[in-house]
Symmetry: C2
């Protein structure tokens, strides 16, 4: 049987996304549900792939199937493509299996030519309308199909209007439009070096192949790369009878969401433009009306729309993002899809839908993106600070969050600042697909034009960036890199703060503060904890961080980096004294003051942990990290230690290493200076005893970093056990001794080490460094080349490298479990908070992950999703 490359709308359904694209599948679904959808056909993604396979030629068989389907559309609509009396006009739109908003090109009004236009010009109004449509087709065709851009056409239009002394297109007459259309044909010929094709079928075939080709344009490629979408999916093409939201003043076009995509409230949400085409809304040409206004202006249509919205939401069991058009008071549904939403809206919608019994808890969890949940936690300004701040201007709260940043007018400035770790606000008249890269690197986005569903708003919500759109009393000169807000001038040196939740814009920097947990958040966490298998612990060095992490639901503290305790002023002095010590006596003195301070810190931590695990890592970083950097600091240290400045410099010099990452650090420190391990162990047991005496349970896990050989562990274990013998005589404190697995040798030796360890904690940061031989601090010099050249597809410091580091972990887990079936296995690297990595760890049989406090909720969610996924296999 011949393969089917073309489907009529009533031949498909919503589950055929891979073949028909998301848009096509949903158009088919809506058609079959009986909704008013302009009839049409979909050319499949396989036809697209065939097109590329056959060297950008449209296969003859595909052409035949298209022609046959067009015939069917003609029959259904009673209109004929190319007919002068009753012409079928078509829209041609791309639709890939995964939604790529704004990425692909669209052609409207296809089917027009000189003869048809002439025939349709029945009166002044229809003539004006049809020539306007015609000149748009010519321009779009030149742009999208022939790749010549719109500039010359738009320039011409602008000059024409200037000549006529009019400002808006609306002031142009029917004759003007006819004149312009003919002028556009001339421009077309000049640019393309051939006549505009008057044959509608030719237009159609060329438009289809243009859509195919647009699959591989730069913007589409960037978007796919950003979103990890395969290049092999291909795009489908949807060909649909035209309906006109711009036909008359009783025509309009709009975009609605079945729930509020910004905050998740269950209300019809959206906006519309009267006498406009859908593209006008997305492009943000005019600022549209809120959908509520339609309830007053056209209550019947509003009710019908609302009914479809609820129907589609129930049918799809998810919040829908729909496009509609009203042509002469008749409503048409043009598209439905699952709507993008902000992280907090996603959370609320998921939780609400469980309440409404639309979905179950597991599905609710599966719909939430752990990375997004993560975003919720950071973004808000301190209300007290805000109270004293003047609102500079206000736009639409397109994507929530609170950010501050330096003003940037283009992608280069954004990237330059990004590289210097300077936060940025991208300000644009309106954003276009070309701006995606800049939006990716910017911290916030501010646009002058466009509504809640403009390009900027959609993309910003999609990538969780704070965005304010439609900020109309802002003017921008992108060339000169200046902007004015109510007459106030801002340059590329100025800072703005955006509140994406209110739409308020502030001058200067407003620091963001912690957020407060919503009910939905807590409910989601409860569900996630119910379904997850992995323990989620937190990396917390100070009691306040531990407290925060536990309030976020952490099961314990998986990594307390004791060195971070030393960075407070009086402590750093003590540790510097220890390092600089020239005699055993001086060193012991310095250590005894450190002992006192560490004991106190551990006490606090044990109290906060309140019976939960507290994993304490022994001193890890190279000693020179503690030494002063500037001349002033050196002088200060010398003075306070009553030593010569020269001596301090000499000590600093003597601690310099060629490759500190592989130098005197980790357990090596405590092996060279066992007195450090003695001090730290003493502090742990003293603190634990004291807290225990206060009736608070303690569960210390003592962790030795950077072990590569079991002898290292045994040497320090002996020290710990000797101290415990004195300070834990009655064994009232039950403790574990474990090691980090972070150098490749410890993987190979995992069986031997496991026999001596109560637990392993994979230090995936260092393990990634050593496995790749990449210094995380230096990789910047080549890593971009690696991405550009397709050598690396992802950042192995963010997501675990399953093929390399992950395989080493598998080896270690296997060896460790064989040697010691009671061993506890954890991960405390950066990857412990990364959803995709957590999924991998879950499969690997790891017992816990540990991550920074703010990542705990997202890690809990990721762990739950991993467990649900595994269970369903």
């Amino acid at each position: 049987m011949m393969e089917k490359y073309v489907y009529l709308f009533d031949e498909g359904n919503k589950d055929m996304k891979n073949l028909l694209g998301g848009k096509g599948a949903n158009l088919a679904e809506m058609t079959n549900m009986g909704l008013p959808v302009p009839y049409g056909l979909t050319v499949t993604t396989e036809a697209c792939n065939l097109y590329f396979k056959e060297n950008n030629l449209l296969n003859e068989n595909v052409q035949k199937q298209i022609l046959k389907a067009v015939k069917a559309v003609e029959e259904k609509t009673g209109k004929i493509l190319g007919s002068i009396d009753n012409p079928l006009l078509l829209s041609v739109r791309s639709g890939s299996p995964i939604s790529m908003p704004g990425m692909m090109d669209t052609i409207l009004n296809l089917g027009l030519n000189d003869e048809i236009v002439l025939a349709l010009s029945k009166d002044e109004e229809s003539k004006r309308f049809i020539y306007d449509s015609y000149r748009r087709l010519i321009m779009m065709f030149a742009d999208v199909v022939k790749g010549k851009g719109k500039d010359e056409f738009e320039d011409y239009l602008m000059r024409y209007k200037e000549k006529k002394g009019v400002k808006s297109d609306l002031e142009l007459s029917a004759d003007d439009m006819a004149f312009i259309a003919h002028a556009f044909k001339k421009i077309y010929k000049k640019l393309v070096r051939e006549n505009f094709p008057s044959e509608p079928l030719l237009q159609l075939m060329q438009a289809i192949t243009a859509v195919f080709r647009s699959w591989n344009n730069e913007r589409a490629k960037v978007y796919r790369q950003m979103n990890n979408i395969s290049d092999n999916l291909g795009t489908a093409v949807n060909i649909q009878e035209m309906v006109y939201g711009n036909l008359s003043s009783s025509s309009l076009t709009g975009v609605i969401f079945s729930r509020n995509p910004a905050n998740g409230t269950d209300e019809l949400y959206g906006e519309y433009l009267v006498k406009a085409q859908g593209e006008d809304i997305v492009a943000g040409v005019r600022t549209p009306f809120p959908i509520k206004k339609l309830a007053i202006e056209k209550p019947k249509i509003y009710q019908e729309l609302k009914g479809y919205s609820k129907l589609l939401e129930k049918h799809y069991r998810d919040m829908q993002d729909m496009e509609f058009t009203v042509e002469n008071d008749k409503l048409y549904m043009l598209q439905t899809r699952c709507g993008k939403r902000t992280p907090s809206a996603a959370l609320k919608i998921a939780v609400d839908m469980v309440k409404e019994s639309l979905i179950d808890e597991k599905e609710a969890l599966m719909r939430l993106n752990p990375d997004d949940i993560n975003l919720i936690l950071h973004k808000s300004f301190d209300p007290k600070v805000l109270a004293n701040k003047k609102v500079l201007t206000k736009g639409l709260p397109a994507s929530p969050g609170a950010v501050f940043g330096k003003i940037c007018f283009n992608v280069d400035d954004v990237k330059m600042a990004y590289d210097k770790k300077i936060p940025t606000i991208l300000v644009r008249e309106e954003t276009s697909p070309e701006d995606i890269e800049a939006m990716k690197y910017a911290d916030g986005i501010l646009t002058v034009r466009g509504g809640m569903t403009s390009h900027a708003a959609v993309v910003a919500r999609g990538i969780g960036k704070c965005c304010i759109s439609g900020c109309e009393n802002v003017t921008i000169d992108e060339e000169k890199k200046i902007m004015f807000i109510d007459g106030l001038k801002f340059t590329g040196e100025s800072y703005l703060s955006l509140d994406g939740t209110s739409g308020n814009v502030y001058e200067g920097v407003i620091e963001t503060t912690d957020f407060s947990l919503t009910d939905e958040f807590s409910i989601m966490l409860q569900w996630a904890k119910k379904y997850k298998r992995l323990e989620v612990r937190a990396n917390a060095d100070l009691a306040k961080d531990a407290d925060l992490a536990l309030s976020f639901g952490a099961d314990g503290i998986g990594l307390c980096r004791t060195e971070h305790m030393f960075f407070e002023k009086n402590k750093i002095l003590a540790i510097r004294k220890m390092i600089i010590a020239s005699s055993e006596k001086e060193r012991t003195d310095a250590l005894s003051s450190l002992l006192e301070m560490q004991t106190k810190d551990f006490e606090e931590l044990f109290k906060v942990s309140n019976g939960k695990v507290l994993t304490i890592r022994y001193l890890d970083p190279p000693l020179h990290e503690f030494l002063p950097k500037t001349d002033e600091e050196v002088a200060e240290l010398a003075k306070s230690l009553k030593v010569n400045v020269e001596d301090v410099y000499q000590k600093i010099d003597s601690l310099k290493e060629f490759n500190p990452m592989m130098g005197l650090r980790g357990c090596r420190l405590s092996i060279v200076y066992p007195e450090i391990a003695v001090m730290q162990t003493t502090a742990i047991f003293k603190a634990a005893s004291k807290v225990l005496r206060h009736g608070i349970a303690v569960k210390p896990e003592l962790m030795i970093p950077l072990v590569g050989d079991v002898n290292e562990l045994n040497y320090l274990k002996k020290i710990i056990e000797d101290v415990a013998l004195k300070l834990n005589k009655n064994n009232s404190i039950s403790y574990k001794i474990g090691t980090m697995i972070e150098v490749p040798r410890s993987v190979i030796q995992a069986d031997k080490i496991a026999k001596e360890a109560d637990f392993f904690s994979f230090g995936t940061n260092d393990l990634t460094q050593m496995t790749f031989g990449f210094s995380r601090d230096d990789a910047g010099t080549f890593i971009n080349s690696y991405y550009d050249k397709g050598i690396l597809k992802f950042d192995p410091f963010k997501t675990i490298d399953k093929e390399g580091v992950g395989k080493l972990m598998m080896v270690a887990v296997k060896l460790a479990k064989l040697a010691n079936d009671k061993i506890e296995l954890g991960v405390c690297g950066e990857h412990g908070g990364d959803a995709s990595s957590i999924k991998f760890f879950n499969k690997l049989g790891i017992d816990y992950v540990s991550c920074s406090p703010y990542r705990v909720p997202s890690a809990i969610l990721a762990a739950a999703k991993a467990a649900i996924c595994e269970e369903s296999i």
Copy 2:
């Protein structure tokens, strides 16, 4: 049956070394061969281990067996232990399974007490002799058995002689000796707080346990650690009837070798002292006569000795080191063992013995130590330079070689200089076992006293150190750290040069030059090449190094580090230009001048390689290694490049890395700057074509360093193949493309990488660094602690870490061979020249090793030994 812990000499044989120790087994063997050996018994090593196991108590059963054996000795000798009329006197000596010269303690004259001494004092001469023996026994007993040292005794003796106004012991009378013996008894009582035991059996039991305990003294432990000898072997104790080389003027004692241990010549070699005990020779108290003199003095005894020497050598099929004593013109053989020899003697003896059909080629190879062979290659002074140098003084050529170094008087100074990489000459009155550590770290050894078989000479030959002994017109003040040679004063700041082959001592530094290959050396290499399986290639960056390596028998060049070519003045400027280049054009210009130079270098290398493999590694080190270091150099560079000094500094700064070992280097360089790879590939193919046109075959292997992912290899492979497409159109140059395996990730990905590579070369240096997480440059700060604390037993940068790095290599080899059965596998790290590592690589199925030119012969030998070993399993 009760275990046998004691063997009479006629109950054992030479194969019972583990039980009887080397000395005991050989005494038994000689006894059974009918040689004149004073009769005795051996207490086994198992008795020693039992002694330690039973908390340093001598087992009752062992005691009983000793008593029984002593009875047998009494019967055989007709003498009785403790008898006043006919006393049996004994020597008690240790003897472990592996020879540990000077390590263990000895007690002589055991069995004497006041009564016996009195009874044996028949006349002045016998009285003098027996009291001398008695006072020696008391002193030795206090020292060895009771651990009180000899100092007080020797001080007393010295003061006594001063009082008497005599210089030598020989001038003391019988009464003096009796007086001294009694005084020694008093000193003994004072030190030990008990009387000297007069009961001979008690003396014997205490002496035996003292020998056991000496197994665990510090010197013995250090020696075992140095030589990788197990602590569990234990020592046997040999108890033997005393014979006296110091009894009369027709008594003497000596040490002989069946061949010359310094150069291997087949001649009776050794020395003797008249009227002396064996210990006097070893301790170097007097300078002995050469053995040739005995042929004149006592021709009959000389002939008898020579006969035994040949007999034993034939019997043992190896060069023997024998001790003998003549008591009143009767010859006794006291010991035989395989003699230590210098590396060049070992080589000559092995080759000669094959000619003599004593051993076969394989056994000859198995007897040679690759590390020693290595030593032969470095050591000689340029004869032209020597011709103009005045010989300062001359000593005995105790261990050959040519070295220069700073004068050091003790172990601390030697070690301090060693750490600073300053070569040293250890100068000592005489060396003792306490000096072993200093000898290990010193480059050469000079002693004032002692012969060719003194402690210093034996140890130096054993560890292959250059040594001149018996340099009698040297005086040393070890305390003040000054020495005089013929009145000339030298301090710890002075340098000496020693020629261990001639015994000549020179003032100042004489640089050593290359050696010339002897016939034996060539023969050995031929044999080794016949039996080895591994190819041995050389690491050579310049044509002259490659030439040397090939003359040493290298099978090709396994590693040409192209960056080393850049360090010449005009080249470094070109590469600096490339690095500093601010535009594409500048970079291309710089590269084109580099291209010309590299092409020439490769031409030379191809010519020298003459059809053998030439493995060229692409640019590897971080770029900043090429940049100037000093302000002057920066200024010079800026000037020559006509750029601002500031710009140069800025560039240097921008290239600084936190961990350069894991930064922008290896293949990452060519991925970021593909033009470098293009240049290098072009140079290779241009050079190869040119050389090929001259009729010389070429075999380039192009090697990509630091690959961790197959995409890296593929990216650069594409560049190479594109260049080859242009420059190797007719495929006249057959080349291979391979990669280094040096980051752990490449091990895990070895299967994928192997599919794209013609060869792998393990870069074991980097692989060791990454696997351990040790920076080779920084490990010095902790590695000594690791050795001291027993955490590391060996230097993993010298000998492959079989348990860690080795296991990773096994994984890579397995994956690679499964994926690509044609793949060629090599090792080009430091370990490629290390014998123990080579043995491991041979077993692993590696195809070749590559090492520095001077290590090629020893690697060939090691490869042969590895193959012979494997074959015999």
